[in-house]
């Protein structure tokens, strides 16, 4: 019950982060120039064309990836799985490359759908490999996912190299929000819609997380839930990859932290997961913008370090029962 009371303050704190994020950047734009003074018009333009889209994109991507990670952990019943440890992200990248090679003129939303189709296929392959894991050793699962991601990545690199697209590929693998402008991020609203959809279906995902036998006992069609989850995860991942690139480990960090504190009843925890995901990405992005100003460090790089440290910590402090 206490968590409910805390949610409003947490929401406000995240909103404050978002506002702070609006005022961090290379171009001169402070609160006072916005209100009056010379350059006010220019400041509003920067705000509308660049800063607001960027902050919105960060929030949508962070919330979406955190929720996607949660769903994957429920479906695979494994704490270490998230889109970047299951081949999902790499498959979406391969999809992006395919679009770039075969139909570079498609509108963004179509690119996203193609990437999502690839992500869906890759994740489905991952889940079907999991069914063949002889002993459901919890650490074997992300290991296979990481390796599968590596194999898919090798394919992507091969074709990118062959067709001289390594540079372009770098752009969507780095997790960089600096190029997000008005008109270049709107596909992320799809991620928001899917996040809301995930909340609507929260109880199904919790039941699926209890395992196939429990799901069947409670009259839930496990395969349908897995299908729904896969679609949500792939679309969210693809929309993020298309707009900003890879945001590694959010889906690992946030769900695990929230689960430690509040458990896994998604009806209760999903709002927290979405909020914390957004806050984490906002913070990492600000760090990336401030540390080496005027140059920017992509948020993906910051998350890579933070996330792998968190992952190591999670693995090393693992008690035998945890899985």
């Amino acid at each position: 019950m206490t968590f409910v009371k805390l949610f409003i303050p947490a929401l406000l704190a995240t909103a404050a982060l978002a506002v702070a994020s609006l005022f961090v950047g290379v171009s001169e734009m402070t609160f006072s120039t916005l209100l009056s003074g010379p350059g006010g018009e220019r400041a509003w333009m920067i705000l509308g064309a660049s800063r607001v889209p960027r902050t919105l994109a960060l929030i949508l991507a962070g919330a979406g990836m955190a929720v996607a990670g949660t769903i994957m952990q429920m479906l695979s019943r494994n704490r270490f799985v998230e889109p970047s440890t299951a081949g999902t992200v790499e498959s979406a990248s391969l999809g992006m490359l395919a679009v770039l090679l075969l139909a570079p003129d498609l509108p963004v939303i179509m690119k996203m759908l193609v990437a999502a189709a690839f992500a869906l296929a890759g994740t489905a392959v991952f889940l079907s490999i999991l069914r063949r894991v002889p002993l459901r050793s919890p650490v074997l699962v992300p290991l296979i996912g990481l390796m599968l991601g590596g194999v898919i990545n090798a394919c992507t690199t091969f074709f990118a190299y062959r067709y001289d697209l390594l540079q372009a590929m770098g752009a969507w693998t780095s997790g960089d929000f600096s190029a997000v402008l008005r008109g270049r991020y709107e596909v992320l609203w799809v991620a928001l819609a899917l996040t809301v959809a995930a909340y609507v279906a929260a109880d199904r995902f919790t039941v699926a997380g209890m395992g196939e036998d429990f799901s069947t006992n409670l009259g839930l069609d496990h395969r349908k839930v897995v299908g729904l989850g896969l679609v949500i995860v792939s679309m969210v991942t693809a929309s993020v990859v298309v707009t900003a690139g890879i945001l590694p480990f959010i889906g690992l960090i946030v769900p695990n932290l929230v689960s430690m504190v509040m458990g896994d009843r998604l009806r209760r925890t999903l709002p927290w997961i979405a909020l914390s995901g957004a806050a984490l990405v906002l913070v990492c992005d600000m760090i990336g913008r401030l540390v080496n100003a005027p140059y920017e460090i992509p948020v993906g790089s910051v998350l890579g370090v933070v996330g792998s440290l968190f992952f190591l910590n999670l693995l090393l402090r693992r008690r035998p029962r945890a899985a």
Binding site: V133, V139, G150, A154, T157, V291, G307, L312
Partner: protein, 321 residues
Amino acid sequence: MQPDSLRSARRVLLIIGIVAAAAVVAFMTLGARGNWSFVLPFRGTKVLALVLVAYSIAVSTVLFQTITNNRILTPAIMGFDWLYMLLQTVLVFLLGAAATSSIDPRLMFLVEIGTMTGFSLVLYRFLFSGSIRDLHLLILIGVVFGTLFRSLAGLLQRLIDPNEFVVLQDRMFASFNAVDSNLLVISAVMVAIASIIALRIFHTFDVMALGRETAISLGVDHRRITMIVLILVTVLVSVSAALVGPVTFFGLLVANLAYIVMPTAKHRYVLPAAVLIAIICLVGGQTVLERLFAFDTALSIVVEFAGGLFFIFYLLRGHPR
């Protein structure tokens, strides 16, 4: 061991030796046009580099698997390659690109290998102190360490002035095709020294492979040998990483191929077999890709692809011990 399997081990060695030699000859001569006095030294340097890399990766992987007593862990999978890359980045970051380029690359290389050895000893102690019993957990931790090193290197590269970053990028993204010939001599010397040391303790390897308890009860100073082998492994890893950059799965592939083709587990046969197979794969693969398909640096990508699939297959097969 029966003399039969010894004889067949020698026969296999002879065959893969001939194939390896053929691969080298093919690489040197196929499609060569024009002046031999130009082609031979040019390709010769390249072949020497490839052979050095093949040797380093094969020997370091087999020895690492001997002291860790399993056939799926390799230094590359445990993140050692990326550790080397991280160290390089840290050096540029601390000293600046200008200073880094002005230092004699050979001196630099020695410093890097020294630091690398220290760090990898710490990493090894941490991972193999016996507190982590689950092999899969151990691999996963190693893989995530690799990710951490790579991410840290990536982050540091972003912190470096973009102009200086270009200098670093040249050094970081070496490939099978663009081997740094300046490093060849010093690499060859390092590999030679490592090999001489390895030869002096060669007789302990077969005993070490039996496991810690058995090795100790047979009178081998397990701790000391482990340390020496680990230092040798680190040197060899540094050599290959410096020459061609990180290659995650190559060692795993060649070591396991060697275990498969050799009817015996004795290091006298497995080690040369692994080296020869590595040479066949690298030199032969490069010949095929370069001469037949006109691809340049795609070999490492192909190796990652095949190696990753092999690794997943190996994991799924069940008991990787």
